[in-house]
C-alpha cells in the first residue's frame, strides 16, 4: 500500500522535472545573503536596500536574495548550498552580509574561484586569511555611535544609560565603547554632569537578534534596564526591540528614550521617544564594488568607509550616518549639532591615509581597558587598526574602564 504512495510521488517528481528551467538575463547577477529577514528594520534590511541601490544604479544588474540564514530560521541550510544555488542562477558576485558568515565565506569561496565574494564587516582580506577572491567592506559607524552616545548623554536625567549589545566580539565592543565615549563627553561638557557618576551598563543578549532559547530576550532586557532606573537605552542589536519597549513605556507616561541602530528608518518604530539612529548606508560601497566586478576591474580588498562630513546623510556619498530623532529636545539638538561639527573638524584634521582611518574622535588618552590595561596615554590617540596589534579600536579586546558589563 505504501509502495503505491511512493510510486505516485515518483511519477509526480518525474513529470515536474520535465518542465523547462528559468531563463537567464544579461548583466551582473549578484547574490545577497542576509543573516536576518530582509525586512528586519535593522542590519539585514540596510544591506537589502544597499543591494536595491545597486540594482537601481547599475543597469542590467539583478539581485538574488537569501534571507534569514541562521541557525534558528534555517538550521538545515548551509552557506555552501545557498551559494551553489545562486551561482547556478548566474551570480558572479556574492555578498555575505554578516560576520557570522566570515569563516564560511572563505571556505566556500575556495570552491568557486571565479566568483567574487564580499564579506561585510569582516577583516580576513585585511589579515590575509581570505582566499584571493574574497573582499571585505565596512562602514566607520564608530563616528555615528559617538554621536548617538552624545545624544543619550545629553538626554539622561537619571545619569543611567543602558546599552543592549548583541554577542561579544571586537566589533561590538568598539561600538559600545564609542557610544560610551560620546555619552561621557556630552554628559560632562554640555550637561555639566560628573562623568564618574554616569552609569553606562552593557547587557549582551548573545546574538545579533532574538533567538528564543538561545539569546536572552531583548524585550525583557530592555524592560529590566528601565525598571532598574535607566532612562535612555541604546540599541546595539539588529532589531528594534529597544524602540518598541521605549515607545510602550512612554505611552504609560514614563519619560524614557531609546536610541536605534543599523537602519536609517530605525526611529519610525517609536518616533516620539527616539533620540536618533546611527546607521549604515551600504549602497555606495556596494555599487562601487558591483560596478568594478561587472567591468572585471575589482581586486578584492578591505575597505572601511567613513561618512561624508559635508552631508552625513547623503545616500549617494556617505557610508554611515546619523539621523536625530523627535525625542531630542531643541536645546540638546543644538548641542548635538555643535558636537557633530567638532567631530567633522577633527576628521578633517586627521584625514585617511592609504585608505585607512588614522584616528577617531574622542578615542584619545588617557583611556584604559576594564582590567586597567592602558590603551592610550594622555595626548595619544588609539590606533584605528594595525595588523597584529590587539590594542586598536578595530580589535578592541575589552570594554573601557568606566563601563559596566561583561567584556568576554
Amino acid at each position: 500500500m505504501r509502495k503505491l504512495f511512493l510510486a505516485v510521488l515518483i511519477v509526480a517528481v518525474g513529470l515536474l522535472m520535465a518542465l523547462p528551467a528559468v531563463a537567464q538575463d544579461d548583466g551582473l547577477t549578484f547574490g545577497m545573503i542576509l543573516v536576518g529577514p530582509q525586512s528586519d528594520r535593522g542590519w539585514s534590511q540596510a544591506h537589502y536596500e544597499g543591494g536595491q541601490y545597486v540594482e537601481a544604479n547599475l543597469p542590467g544588474s539583478q539581485m538574488l536574495v537569501f534571507e534569514s540564514l541562521n541557525s534558528a530560521d534555517a538550521p538545515e541550510t548551509t552557506l555552501l548550498q545557498v551559494v551553489t544555488e545562486m551561482v547556478d542562477q548566474g551570480a558572479t558576485l556574492i555578498i555575505t552580509s554578516s560576520d557570522a558568515f566570515e569563516e564560511d565565506t572563505d571556505v566556500v569561496a575556495e570552491a568557486f574561484p571565479d566568483v567574487t565574494f564580499i564579506n561585510a564587516s569582516g577583516d580576513n582580506a585585511f589579515t590575509g586569511e581570505a582566499p584571493a577572491n574574497v573582499g571585505n567592506t565596512m562602514g566607520q559607524v564608530e563616528w555615528a555611535k559617538l554621536i548617538a552616545g552624545c545624544a543619550a548623554g545629553l538626554t539622561t536625567e537619571t545619569g543611567s544609560i543602558g546599552y543592549l549589545g548583541p554577542l561579544i566580539n571586537g566589533e561590538t565592543r568598539r561600538l559600545a565603547a564609542s557610544a560610551y565615549l560620546g555619552a561621557r563627553y556630552c554628559y560632562e561638557n554640555y550637561k555639566g554632569g560628573d562623568p564618574a557618576a554616569l552609569t553606562f551598563t552593557v547587557t549582551w543578549i548573545g546574538f545579533w537578534f532574538n533567538i528564543p532559547g538561545v539569546t536572552l530576550d531583548p524585550t525583557a532586557e530592555v524592560n529590566t534596564f528601565f525598571d532598574n532606573g535607566a532612562d535612555v537605552v541604546m540599541s546595539g542589536i539588529d532589531t528594534p526591540e529597544v524602540m518598541t519597549v521605549a515607545g510602550q513605556r512612554a505611552e504609560r507616561g514614563e519619560s524614557v528614550y531609546g536610541v536605534a541602530y543599523d537602519y536609517a528608518a530605525g526611529c519610525d518604530v517609536a518616533p516620539g521617544v527616539c533620540l536618533g539612529v546611527p546607521y549604515f548606508n551600504w549602497g555606495p560601497a556596494y555599487l562601487d564594488i558591483a560596478t568594478r566586478v561587472n567591468e572585471g576591474t575589482y581586486t578584492p580588498e578591505w575597505t572601511w568607509n567613513g561618512p561624508d562630513w559635508s552631508d552625513m546623510n547623503n545616500p549617494d556619498t556617505s557610508s554611515v550616518g546619523f539621523i536625530a530623532g523627535d525625542g531630542l529636545s531643541e536645546e540638546n539638538a543644538a548641542s548635538l549639532d555643535e558636537f557633530i561639527a567638532m567631530l567633522a573638524t577633527f576628521a578633517e584634521e586627521h584625514p585617511d591615509a592609504d585608505g585607512l582611518p588614522t584616528a577617531f574622535g574622542l578615542w584619545e588618552g588617557p583611556l584604559a581597558l576594564q582590567d586597567g590595561t592602558v590603551l592610550a596615554a594622555e595626548g595619544e590617540f588609539v590606533k584605528p587598526i594595525e595588523a597584529d596589534n590587539p590594542l586598536t579600536i578595530w580589535y578592541l579586546p575589552q570594554l573601557l574602564e568606566g563601563m559596566v558589563g561583561a567584556s568576554e
Binding site: 505504501r2 515536474l16 538574488l64 544555488e85 545562486m86 566570515e102
Partner: protein, 370 residues
Amino acid sequence: MTANRTTLRVALLVAPILLSLLITAVLVLAVGKDPIEVMTAILEGAFRNSNAIAGVVNFWIPLTFACLGLVITFTAGLWNIGVEGQMMMGAVFASWAARTIVLPTPLLIPIEIVLAMAGGAFWGVLVGVLRVRLGVNEIFGGVALNALASVIVIYLISGPWQPPEGGSAQSTPPFPAESLLPEMSPEFPVSLLALVLALVIILTVYFALRGTRWGLNLKATGKNPRSALLLGVPTTQTALSAFIVCGAIAGIGGAYRVLFTFDSLRPLPSGGIGFLGLLVVLMVANHPLIAPIVGFVFATILAGSTRLRVVLQLDQSLAEVLQGFVVLLVLMANGLRGRILSSPRSSPEVVQEQPAPTTVTSAAEAASHE
C-alpha cells in the same frame, strides 16, 4: 466488496497527499506565486545534477539515523522528542574528538563515531532516567534536554571552542581535514562510509526488532509495561536501553552533520532533522523499512527548498508546512479508514498498527516498580 475496499484504501492513501499539496498550492497562490514554479524549484533544487542529488542524500543520511533510533523508542512506547538533543550531543562528542585527537583518518573516524554514539546515548539516558526513575515525562524531559544541548553547543562555539579571532557564536574553526569523513567524489559529495552505515543500521534495527529477545521486550514494554514487568521483562532497563540505543544511533546522525556537512560545530547542528524524523516515523506507523523511504521524500523537499528561497523568494517554512500537512492528513486519513472499515457492517479485521505512544501524563507509569 473487496474491490471497493481496495479503492477506498488507495483513495485514503492518496487523498491526504493530494490535499496537502492542494493546501500548499493555495498558500502559494495567496502570496502571489505560481505553485507549479514552486514544485519545479523544489525538484530542480533536489535533482538537477549529481551534486544536487548528493544534497538530498546528505539530508537523508542523518534523517535515517534519527528515524531508526526513533523506531526503537516508539516500539518501547516512548515519545523521544529529545532526539534533537541526542543528535546535538553526538555532534558535540564527535567535534571534541575531531578537534582534540590527532590520528590518521582511518583510525580517527571510528573513534569519532563511537564517541558520537556515546554522546547521543548519554543524552538519551538522561531523558530515560528522568522518565523511568524520577517520573518526569519524556516529552518534557526531551524538550528541556534539547534546549540544554543547544545551549551547550552555543557555549562551546562562543566560549572554549571559539575561533582564535573571537567568536561570532556562529561556528568553531573548521576541523582538521584528517578528522572529516571523505567524500565519494567531487561530483557526488556524499560519504560512502556513512551511507553504508545507514543501510547497516536499517537492517540491524529491522532484525533486532523482529528476531531478538530485546526487540520483543521493547514491544511488550511499549504495549503494556505493567504486564511486561509481571511477565518477567526488565521494563526499566528495557526503556532505558531504548533511549540509549536511540540516542547512540541519532548521535551518528549528529556526527555526520559536523564531520561532513559543516566540517565544524554549528549552533543547532541537528538542524531540526530529529523533529522531521519524528514526523516520518509517526507517518509510517513505526515501520523500520518504510521510514527511510518516506524519509527520502522528505529529504528531497528539504534539499529542494533552498532553491525555493533563492529563486522565488518563498520562505523555507513552506516546505515545512507541506511536510506537516502530509503527516497530519495521513494520520487523519488512517483514522478515517479505521472508522469506515470497522463500521458495524464490515468484519473487525482492521486494527490500526499505531506506534503505541503513551499519553502525556502516564509519566511514571512505565516500569516505576521494580
